[in-house]
């Protein structure tokens, strides 16, 4: 079983990396694409098969250390 976590910059926060990648893609000829956002992806191996045991722990970990709640949002699934 794995927790799969996606951490993204908050909407209101500047994402210079996303902007730079967007410009690069446009210059390479990928015309018409919209905004790009770059975040983090984490995969955590978990023992057992019962997702529920882990849900609140993973949520806590996301909040406390895996993301920076001041500038990032996160979401996750356990599967």
């Amino acid at each position: 079983m794995k927790a799969k976590i996606i951490v993204t910059p908050k909407k209101a926060v500047l994402d210079p990396q996303g902007k730079t990648v967007q410009n690069a893609l446009e210059q390479m000829g990928y015309k018409g694409i919209g905004a790009v956002h770059v975040g983090k992806y984490l995969e955590i191996d978990l023992p057992g098969a019962d997702a529920e045991v882990w849900r609140s722990q993973i949520d806590g970990a996301c909040h406390k250390i895996l993301s920076n709640p001041v500038i990032e949002d996160y979401r996750f699934v356990i599967e």
């Binding site: 910059p9 209101a12 926060v13 500047l14 994402d15 210079p16 902007k19 730079t20 410009n23 920076n68 001041v70 500038i71």
Partner: protein
Amino acid sequence: MPMSDPAITPELVRQHNLTPEEFDKIKGILAREPSYTELGIFSVMWSEHCSYKNTRPLLKTFPTKSPRILVGAGEENAGIVDIGDGLAIAFKIESHNHPSAVEPFQGAATGVGGIIRDIFTMGARPVCAINSLRFGPIEAGAGAAHNRRLFGGVVSGIAHYGNCFGIPTIAGEVYFDPSYEDNPLVNAFCLGVLRHEQIARGAAKGEGNPVFYVGPATGRDGLAGAAFASRDLTEESAGQQRGAVQVGDPFMEKLVCEACLELLATDAVAGIQDMGAAGLTCSTCETAARAGTGIEIELSLVPQRAPGMTPYEIMLSESQERMLIIVRAGREDEVKRIFDKWDLPWARIGQVTDTGRMVVKHNGAVVADIPARKLADEAPVYQRESREPAYLQAVRAFSLASVPVSTDPAADLKRLLAWPGIASKNWVYRQYDHTVRDGSVVCPGSDAAVIRLKADSLPPGSANGSAVEKYIALTVDCNAAYVYLDPYEGAKIAVAEAARNLACAGAVPLGTTDNLNFGNPHNPELFWQLKESVRGLAEACRFFDAPVTGGNCSLYNQSPNGPIDPTPTVALVGLIEKREHITTQWFKDEGDAIILLGDVIDEQDPMRGLGGSAWLQGLHQLKTGQPPRCDLEKERSLHNTLRGFIQCGLIKSAHDCSEGGLAVALAESCISQQIARETPRLIGARIDLSFAVAEATRLDALLFGETQSRVIVSVAPLDVVKVVERAKILGVSAVKIGIVGGGELTLKAGKWEGKWPLAELHDLWWNSIARAMAL
């Protein structure tokens, strides 16, 4: 006026940190009620951060003139000092304390970005950075884990920004003390180089000249950050700011810097100003005020990142890496060409007028119309009440009688070297690129850093073959424990120590930039600390002929746990005439003689140099006692004598005695040269202090007392007599205390003898912060 604007109520005025009297003054200036946008504009411009309303009378007492000063304190974004041969340097320090408390990485990063912009705004090429940091304790205590996170975040934020921009971060200081818990200090300094004729001005000159906005689009980030910095740090104020964290983009800044320098070389620019604190508001009204003109801008032309931004938000945003450029009419194409070359966004957003007013329109409708000068220069000024703090009575009453004489000074030295305040800061500076730009002659790790300036240190457009090399020394210092225990004396010592560090490197001071980090000025005891500190700084800067060229005030540094220790950080910049005079702190050759310049102990100091010392703090958890005194005359003759010796080629190493006293300084001279990764150069010393045992009265005071005005030098054996005799003639005590050599440090004082293997001392000193950070 936009329909959605809230009504101006007394409550709203209060939320904007404006007093009823200030609000009346605003109404007087406008001859009517302000609009919501105008209220926001006044609130940031009249915040302490932008207007210095509580500190201006004090700042006026600083010495600010010397024949070398080309642009003085308060005139522009940064002061400019002549260094000869048509060259000049621009430098300044700035705080980013509250933003770093909220988001350490981005807060510190944007602090670096802000000060770099202040420098290239002057037309100078930024060539080095330094920083001064304070955190709560990182080793033990309830908050240690949090403090480590703040410390780690701040350091990587500074590294991220400076490294990517490509500026060597070559000096700094870091202290840990409970008073900074939850209110860390992050002071960032930048220095740039230019030719005299390249000085750019932040003035909106020339009626009809177009006003350009360059750099990334404006978002809601850092909304009203200047106001945030101008009140106590509380959970509530931090919470508000968290919603609007500024994110730095050093990549963008590098491009903006190169493009601006390239543009300034074309002569198409009438005025230029960065958008720092208070963003578009500050840059428009200040440029107009300086030039005595007016300015008119249309907000719908301002590039915007977020949809639906109100005029209030656009004017108060502190989005980073933006510049305001006043272009000479008819030269617009040059701006476009250069900014397009660098793929940078630009927009023409308005023009200079002759009305003396700052007029802001949004889709044609006027949303603000304010006399620029009154807004920028006529903020209220307050003489705050001051009262000597009550705690000072206990400080003065404290005596050494209550502290048992050390039973194991050998162990004390080891503990002091490992104490985070004294331990090597390599954990910090190895994360900073300090060798980029090919000019770092003395890297972090010696008393002062030294950089060389060469032709490519200059901005473009100065190709005239005069590639004279110059050597600039830099240091930033402040022992805030001393300042807490005696603000006047402590502030003097901050300057004296900085000047001493420069002297040890072989440099003559050129100028000072200071950052006044204090608590809430409405508290009379805290304001007294500020007032007394400024008195000490002013006196010492005058004394060392190091005029203040600018600086920054950061008040309201207090968390619910109380105020920080008063921390007037002092950055001094000096000039070294010849490359041969550049001197470092570590011992060089076996057999050299070790000489102490200065008094071994101040016999008139009842605390024997232990008041406020690292020894009392680190080993006894006591921050008390009257700190050592600094006799400025004595200090100055020490510096002059030392520099004279250096210029005669007599000195192989020079290291000043500061925290931890003689013993720590000696140990550092043995262990602080780092050849390469994992490869220190350790060189021993045999010291005999027996001659001073009686004077010192206590062994621990002799070893760890922090009597001021002392430097340890090493000289070739043949030069000993010359140095000692000449020093005496010049009125500086000098005594040979030992010899360089061997694989250990040995120290004899009467019957007592201490002996330390160098590898062990080095490990304790070099690795202790890394160990604390791994906890």
